[in-house]
Symmetry: C2
Subunit: 360 residues, 2 copies
């Protein structure tokens, strides 16, 4: 039997625009089978969490426009579990709101907050780590995060600096560090007590609500006034009226950076944020020419290091291309150097400007 006090908040409101043209505003990354495994990323994430957490205790936080996608892709989820943000206000407001709902339902709840669009291969190690964090947060007033051991000086992630002197597996956090420049990232790596911030948090409902009360009085007040309405038919109306009034603020900034009771467990599982086509390429198996292929039937000549994706069964012939992103979907074909993948957002904006918003 899974522990009834275990809860999850799955963050599924993002757009993933660097995965354009597959990821679009109307059909973002987390709802795609990015790796060609047969499951979408949100399905993978949901079932990974469901190994430890009762399915009915997994809440999906998303935008109203993705409500149907969530219900289609996760048929075991009921409407009650889908928490809709009527406005885009970053992570703090929706996490506080969901935490208050969960606390009202079960005041002994401990919960994990996790992105729905990352990749974790070793599900057993993940489950063990989360169990470990749940145990800790059940016994301590702690705000926890699972940190990823850095494999290279990535300048695209935030870092978590923990107390180097700690002998425990779960370490007190010294401070959160914003995305560093390359030299700083290199020094983080060499110091050894820095982890990547993957946006995975664990805490009890009590601890996180308390953290918001202490650190974000205004935000806390706003959502606390709705407490009698949550989990009732009046909730929708309350949220509709009040949600948009909340500040636009991340949960890291709102409570993690200013709290004293912050801990990190260095993750024992592999992790890939699937943030760009290049990171997806790194994750995928390669053919004999080091091309990563999803769905396509490829015929390549003098073509190496390419990330190739099409609809299932499409024949893709590529001759003479190195390290390209080749992504084909119904209305868009992208042929773009991997080295310039950060510019895909710019390309997307140009396409929207020139040919219409619906392409994004």
């Amino acid at each position: 039997m899974k522990n009834k006090n275990y809860y999850a908040i799955l963050m599924a409101g993002g757009v993933g625009s660097r995965f354009w043209p597959i990821s679009t505003e109307s059909f973002p990354k987390q709802f795609h089978d990015m790796l060609g495994t047969g499951d979408t990323l949100i399905q993978k994430t949901f079932h990974r969490l469901a190994k430890l957490i009762p399915k009915e205790n997994i809440f999906i936080l998303t935008n109203e426009r993705y409500n149907n996608l969530v219900l289609e892709q996760l048929p075991e989820v009921t409407k009650r579990q889908v928490v809709l943000e009527p406005a885009m206000r970053n992570t703090a407001p929706c996490i506080l709101y969901a935490a208050l709902k969960i606390q009202k339902e079960n005041e002994d709840a401990v919960m994990i907050v996790a992105p729905s669009d990352h990749w974790i291969e070793d599900e057993q190690a993940f489950t063990t780590d989360v169990q470990h964090a749940f145990d800790f947060c059940s016994e301590h007033d702690a705000l926890m995060t699972l940190g990823i051991k850095p494999t290279f000086p990535n300048t695209g992630f935030g870092y978590i600096e923990y107390d180097q002197s700690s002998e425990e597996q779960i370490k007190p956090v010294h401070q959160f560090r914003e995305k560093p420049d390359y030299e700083t990232a290199k020094s983080f790596i060499s110091q050894g007590n820095f982890l990547w911030n993957a946006g995975i948090f664990v805490w009890s409902a009590k601890s996180v609500v308390e953290a918001f009360r202490n650190n974000q009085a205004e935000l806390f007040e706003l959502f606390a006034t709705g407490i009698n309405d949550y989990n009732t038919e009046r909730e929708e109306e309350f949220i509709k009226v009040n949600y948009a009034k909340s500040q636009n603020i991340s949960v890291d900034y709102a409570i993690m950076e200013s709290s004293k009771n912050v801990y990190v467990l260095p993750a024992t599982f592999d992790w890939n944020d699937l943030g760009t086509w290049g990171s997806l390429y790194d994750k995928l198996d390669k053919d004999h020419n080091n091309n990563a292929v999803v769905n396509a039937k490829t015929l390549t000549e003098d073509a190496n290091g390419n990330m190739i994706r099409s609809k299932t069964g499409k024949v893709v012939v590529v001759d003479g291309l190195q390290d390209y992103i080749i992504v084909d979907k119904d209305e868009v074909l992208l042929i773009f150097p991997k080295a310039k993948e950060q510019d895909i957002k710019i390309v997307l904006q140009k396409v929207k400007d020139e040919f219409g918003e619906h392409y994004g």
Copy 2:
């Protein structure tokens, strides 16, 4: 009023495999709108001929499997005008067969035989040249061809050498020359009395039938035995039984190379055989980066000299490619250097071998 004695035989049985993946065995080049003008090549060719020739006198020679495509794309054509080859036997047998049918219908017929998949921009010049050839063949026992003034030493075409001493516009042909090597092609060009053989012939029914009788006795006998059946309901049965017995032989080899009464009119119109993606590229208008685009909405950066084709309205983003063929259709995407375009036939064979015949 168009002259009732004017006839045309449109050759529409080819496959055009160097235009794969757009051109396929089940839907060849001549039935595609290769230039994005709104008309398919066979429609363009038909309407060009119809400026001079009564529509009901334009016969379409094609393979049985393309019967429906012809009738769909040329709704003004009746079944009577579609002459089906039950077997692939090169050009001589089907031209003789069609000529006998036409002669039986109208013994004063003069006709043009023309490919259905070439491009001629200046339709007025074409009409004038054909009129000129019709006039000549109405008065003389002549086998005529319209020769194209060569613009460079192309080694992919056959050449027609005419009598340099002739002062007439219509020149006696000295000999036909097979596809030459580069040095030979260069010497042809410098001699000045060589023209490209575009496979466009003009003759009277009487002259061409006579030429077959004199030069190809066996082939003539085979089709002459059906004369009582042609243009009757017994024709189909006769052809079904006998067509496959005919030799596999080109009209050039069968009658043109061995006859004495062969003439050529140097064409005054432009001409492009649309034989490869590169020749299509040459023919098309270019954008400011010298890319030729058919149907696609393109966003290009550092991309020049590319031939880009997709379905209508598809967004194609290309970064960093020079002189490529980028052709996208529903089941196939081809990204291939223009310089290797002659290898597309090889690629096509590999795709068929690996993924199935239906891709070709």
